[in-house]
Every structure is written in C-alpha cells, then in structure tokens.
C-alpha cells in the first residue's frame, strides 16, 4: 500500500482504490467512514486522556510537586484509571431537570468537538475533509458547543449552573469575533480558506514569520481568544470553581461529566491545532531561507512529529497561563474583548491588507 511517513496521500489513495476493487461504491463509503470514525474516536479518547495527564504533570511542575506517580510508570495509567472510575459511576439525574435537554447537552458538546476535528490536517494527506472553506467551517462548528453549555446550564435546575451557562454564552459569543477576525487576518495573507492550501503556503516560511507584525498580533489575539472560547483559565468563568462550584456541569456525574471534561481538552487541542495550522506552518518543517543544510535536516523529521510538537508547544503555553494567572471577572472579560481585542483586530486586518497589497510579505 506504499506507506510513507512523509506523505500519506499515496497510502490513502491506494486504500481507496483497493476498496473500490473489492466492494461496491456504497460499501466502500461505509467502510471508509467507519474506519475514519473509529480512528477519530480512538484519537479523541486517547489523546484526551493524554492531555489530562499532561495537564496534571504540567501543573504539578508549576506547583513544585510531582503530580500523579502511583498508577503505572510515572502515573501514566492514572487518567485511564480515572476514566474507568467515571465510566462505572452512577448517572444521577437530579429532581426537576429537563430530562431531554439534560441528557442531550453532553452530546451536543461532543458532536461540535468531533465536527471541528474533521478538517484538521495532521500531515500531508492525513486530513478527512478538505473544503475550500475549511477555516470558516472550524469557526462555525466550534460555536455549536456553546449551545450545549447553555442547554446544560438551563436544564440542570441549578442556579449556579444557570449563572455559569449565561456567563459562558456571553463570553464565547464575544470571543468568537476575535477568533474569526484573527483568522481572517491570516486568510488575507494566505489567500485561501482551504487548510491544505494554507499549510502548503508555509513551505518556505511560516505565516507568523512571513506576516511580520500583523501576524504576530493576530497570533497573540488568537491564543487569548481561543483560550477564552475553550473556557479555560484565566477565562474559566463558566465553571469558576470558587464562585459557582463547577458552573454549568455541576449537576452532571459519571460519563456525562466525562464528556464535558474530555470535550474541554479536545477543544484545547483544536485551538492549538488551528493556531499551528494557520500561524505555525501546520505539519511543515521549520525552514530558514538560505540555510540549505539546516532545511534538509529539518525535512528529515516526519510531518506528524512536527505537527504534534508544535501543538504540544501551544498547549503547553495555554496550560502555562492557566496555572499562573488569576481568573478575570465577567465584566472584565467582556471589556477585554469589546474594548481592546476587537479594535486591535480590526486595525490589524487593515495592516495585514497593507502588507499583502504592497507585497511586503514576499
């Protein structure tokens, strides 16, 4: 089947061709969908668990302790044990909840997460959907998640949940703007919304270097707004532990809680992956214009490794500020967005347009 760690297009193409030889087109589609679905499920479950473990280790590092150490080597199996515990826990439905919505909410959040995953390019040829509106699609589907949060808060019949959900609604709605606008800035530079084209465009230099100052500003804004959109500290108002106990998922237990928990981490991965794809060259290796031998060495590292290294770096950054900063207040969060990030973003788009118009980036 021609497995090539640097380019998956051949492999996937050969698989498709061999399926078509043996099965009807409909069957082929079904089989391919199943394979992709299982891959994503496995990836989300395993990578989500790994992120939980990583977060615990990173936060332990900041807090001068060891983190999980007992289950497995260096506590590697700790999150799996925790997940099994969550699976076996009783699902409690409190009195007075809106049962249909209450049970629906975790799935909406999970579905939104899955949908956003579909377009992420992991490596060359390792991308399920490659539309011409890829970036737009990600911003669109990732905002479905907020409906899940609102429903969860509303249906839980708990005042804390409701406050948390309303905060989250206001926050995500506002920060959606910044996320989209900072992506728009980069689309102007890339000239396309198709994620594979955006990545290809960064063969010589990543957009964050190519786009000069506007790209840097857009990156910082994207990181801030992305963190806010995933409801992570210092923007974790929706589940502000010290104020609202656990916010919108206070009343959820067992696997339903695990869904919210997992979705939060996978959303963090999606934000990091988008930041990597749009700003940091996706799976492209690090290249410097004239250093031929250096570029050659960098080419030798497989794209998948590049992608996950960069994603890991961004995720570490996001974790870093979660474990360092205090939480903002709800009005301060909205002030930050509407009074600072949004105007800066708009000016930044103009700047980027100027850069592109004058061909300064080439």
């Amino acid at each position: 089947m021609g497995f090539n760690i640097y380019d998956f297009t051949g492999m996937t193409h050969n698989m498709h061709v061999s399926f078509m030889e043996h099965m009807s087109p409909l069957m082929t589609t079904i089989v391919e969908w199943t394979i992709i679905g299982v891959c994503y499920l496995l990836f989300i479950a395993l990578f989500g668990l790994f992120l939980v473990y990583a977060e615990r280790k990173v936060c332990a590092m900041f807090q001068q302790r060891m983190g999980p150490m007992r289950v497995g080597y260096w506590g590697l199996l700790q999150t799996i044990a925790d997940f099994i515990k969550l699976l076996m826990k009783e699902l409690i439905t409190p009195k007075g909840v809106d049962k249909f919505l209450y049970n629906l909410a975790p799935f909406i959040i999970m579905i939104a997460t899955f949908m956003a995953m579909a377009v992420l390019p992991f490596a060359k040829g390792l991308q399920t959907l490659d539309f011409d509106i890829g970036v737009f699609y990600v911003t669109a589907v990732s905002s479905i998640g907020v409906i899940g949060i609102l429903i969860a808060g509303w249906s839980s019949n708990n005042k804390y949940s409701l406050i948390g959900a309303m905060r989250s609604g206001a926050q995500i709605l506002s920060y959606e703007l910044s996320v989209s606008l900072s992506l728009v800035t980069m689309i102007i530079l890339a000239g396309s919304m198709q994620l594979s084209v955006i990545v290809e465009g960064q063969r010589d230099a990543w957009f964050i270097f190519k786009g000069h100052v506007p790209a840097l500003i857009a990156f910082v804004i994207f990181l801030i707004a992305g963190t806010a959109e995933t409801n992570r500290g210092p923007f974790d108002l929706a589940e502000a532990e010290s104020e609202l106990t656990a916010g919108f998922h206070t009343e959820y237990s067992g696997i339903k809680f695990a869904f919210f928990f997992l979705a939060e981490y996978i959303n963090m991965f999606i934000v990091a992956a988008m930041a990597v794809t749009v700003f940091l060259g996706g799976w492209m290796p690090l290249h410097f214009g004239s250093l031929e031998s250096f570029n050659h060495v960098m080419d030798f590292i497989p794209p998948l490794v590049w992608f996950f290294l960069k994603v890991g770096g961004v995720i570490f950054l996001i974790m870093w500020f979660k474990w360092t900063f205090p939480r903002l207040r709800v009005d301060q969060i909205l002030t930050l967005e509407w009074k600072y990030l949004l105007p800066i973003n708009l000016v930044n788009i103009l700047l980027m347009s100027l850069v592109v118009l004058t061909k300064f980036h080439l």
């Binding site: 900041f62 001068q64 005042k159 804390y160 010290s242 104020e243 360092t324 205090p326 207040r329 009005d331």
Partner: protein, 377 residues
C-alpha cells in the same frame, strides 16, 4: 395525579426579580461550613445575609464545666490557624487574675511562637486568596513555606496546628535545643521566598484589577462593625493590640503597625503581606536574645481565680481576640465569653460586597481571612 399545575404567563412584560442563592453551607470558597444567603440581580450582589451556627460546638458553655488549664486546650480548636494566640490569651487572662509574673524567657518564647503562628496563618491566607481568585498555583507556594513553620511547631511541642503550648504560668515544656537554629534558618529562607509572593500575585495585572478599588470599608463602618486585624487596619482603624495594650515581649521589640486608609481589597491584601515582613522583623529581634531561666512558674495544683471579671485581649492573625472570664471563686469559671475577630469581620461583609459582582464577593470574603470555627464557637 390529581394535582393541577398552574401556569402563569405574564403577557404584558417580562417580570424580573432578585433571586436568592445559598452560598454554602457547602461551597468551595466559604472555607468551611458558612452559609451566605446572597440576593442577586443577575451577576450583581444586592444583599448578603450570613447565617452562622452550622458547626457551633458550644465551646463557651463547655468551658464552664472544666478547669482553667483545660480551657486552653479548647481554645485552639476555635481559630485553628492562630491557635497559639488563643491559648496565650487564656493563659494571660488567668495569670493577670492571679497576678502571676511569668519569667522573661516565657514572654520571649510566647512572642516568637505568636509571630510564627501569624506567619503560618498569613501564608495560608495568601494561598487561599490566590485560589479564590482562580490562581491555583499560589496554594502550593504558600503551603511549601508554611510546612517549615509547622515542622518547628512539631519539634517544639509535638503538635503541628493545635499546639497547646501554653499553661497558666508559663509553657508546657522548654524549647527544643534546635529551636533557635531552625527558626533562623527558616527566616533566612523565607526572606527569599516572600518576594516570590509578590512576583506571582501582587504585581499581576489581572489580580490588581480584581482587587483594586473593590470592597471599600470606611473607617466609620470598620469601627461600627468592630472590624479588627489587618482588615480593620486597611480602613485606617488603628487596632493593633500589640501596640495599644502590649503583652508578653511586645513592649520590648520595635515594630510598626501597618495602617492604610483606602480600605479596599488590595489594601487588606497588602497589609497582610507587610505584616509578614513585620513578623520576620519581630522574630529576628527576639530569637538571639531569649533569656535563660525557667519556662514556667510553679502554680498551684488546682487553679482558682478570685471572684470577679477578667478580660484579656491579644492580637490574633485575624484581629482582636478577647477572653472574658467571670469567676465565682471556684476551680472552673462561672461564665466564659470569647470575642473572636472572625465573627465581627464577617458581618461587615454586606457593607463591603453589596453592589459588586459575585466574583468580587468571593475576593472580598477572602481578604477578610475567615476561619469558620472562629466564627461558630
């Protein structure tokens, strides 16, 4: 089901109202079983009604049935973070009633232990303050340094928090031979660690936005509600018992009473950090000069106070802690009343937090440094 549901739909306009939220008795930021009945208008806090009594343990009533040395053991269950100050208050009260003069060695050791307790208490307060604002890392920084103090306590008297080190007339035991060295080592280390607190939290933009100009308490209100300790001094209320009614070795040391008139959350925060520096300063003056002598005065087997009323106040980590004993000449008191700082401070919360957001309520509450058993005795 025979019940019929009545559904009222107002068509003319949407009716809005305040709603009540029970913060507590089980809530992560009330640091114990405190219940605040908060009426909210959206996110804005309208009125706060604290309800206490969930862990009331009847300590004052219990004191009527036991002898004076036994009372001391109960007092460190109240404000467990300034256990030594509470113990000392009772010991001093009994000593004053009997007009016993304790040796200088006892005074010095008591004062050093006081200030170590104050440091430990303020460290824990700092941890929790950060945590209430969502900066979870502060918790581990503070506990890291507090551990050394607790180790010193453990070596000195066998207990880490509920120290029980005082007796009427002196101390239970002499200090451990290592005591001075360990305290000096700790101070040397902590002086390098305390600036980290400022680096991590004090200078942080988000933190400053959360506490600057939030939760104002005027001098009049502070006096009217009896807000003492760093919380009261933040409003300009000079209430440091160590200055105004010095006890133990406090008359012999130089230190400043930190005051500020602004009265917001940040001032209350900053005063506590400054108080830590003052505590270090006080211990440094005493630790090398502990005089030789007895660690306790020989008292009678059964201590009986003369008939009358006795009051002694000390400065605990939270404010003015008072012991009021009414004696009828028997071996146990007729009536005991403790004036705990947390109780008075808590009820000023409504003055400070009304009109702010829920998140600010949590921040303001943590600048008051509440310990619930101190409120519910």
């Amino acid at each position: 089901m025979s019940e019929t549901k009545e559904i009222i739909i107002s068509t003319d306009k949407i009716h809005t109202d305040q709603y009540l939220v029970n913060m507590g008795p089980q809530h992560p930021s009330t640091h114990g079983v405190l219940r605040l009945l908060v009426s909210l208008e959206g996110e804005v806090v309208h009125h706060i009604q604290p309800h206490v009594g969930y862990i009331h343990s009847g300590i004052e009533k219990m004191c009527e049935a036991i002898s004076y040395p036994q009372i001391i053991h109960l007092t460190d269950r109240m404000d467990y973070l300034s256990a030594h100050m509470n113990n000392e208050a009772v010991a001093l009260c009994v000593e004053n009633a009997l007009q016993v003069e304790v040796p200088d060695r006892v005074k010095y050791i008591r004062t050093i232990m006081d200030e170590l307790s104050r440091l430990a208490s303020h460290q824990l307060w700092w941890c929790v303050m950060g945590m209430d604002l969502g900066a979870l890392t502060t918790f581990f920084y503070g506990l890291r340094d507090r551990e050394h103090i607790l180790d010193i306590f453990e070596e000195t008297c066998g207990a880490r928090m509920t120290v029980n080190y005082n007796l009427p007339g002196g101390l239970m035991f002499d200090i451990h031979p290592n005591f001075q060295k360990r305290v000096k080592d700790f101070l040397k280390e902590f002086k390098t660690k305390l600036p980290e607190y400022d680096e991590l939290l004090t200078g942080n933009v988000i933190f400053r936005q959360r506490v600057d100009n939030i939760g104002h308490l005027t001098l009049e209100d502070a006096i009217a509600w009896g807000v003492t300790g760093p919380s009261g001094r933040g409003s300009g209320f000079s209430c440091d018992v160590r200055k105004h009614q010095p006890y133990s070795a406090y008359p012999m040391v130089q230190f400043e009473e930190k005051l500020d008139t602004k009265g917001d959350s940040f001032v209350r925060y900053r005063l506590r950090i400054e108080e830590m520096w003052e505590s270090i300063h006080i211990i440094e003056q005493l630790i090398d000069n502990i005089p030789e002598g007895d660690y306790a005065v020989k008292m009678k087997g059964v201590i009986k106070l003369p008939e009358g009323e006795f009051y002694q106040r000390v400065e605990s980590a939270r404010g003015e802690f008072g012991v009021y004993i009414v004696s009828d000449g028997k071996k146990n008191p007729y009536r005991v009343k403790f004036r705990s700082p947390g109780f008075s401070n808590l009820f000023a919360l409504n003055k400070m937090a009304a009109g702010h957001k829920i998140a600010d309520l949590v921040a303001i509450m943590s600048t008051l440094d509440l310990v619930i058993p101190d409120i519910d005795r």
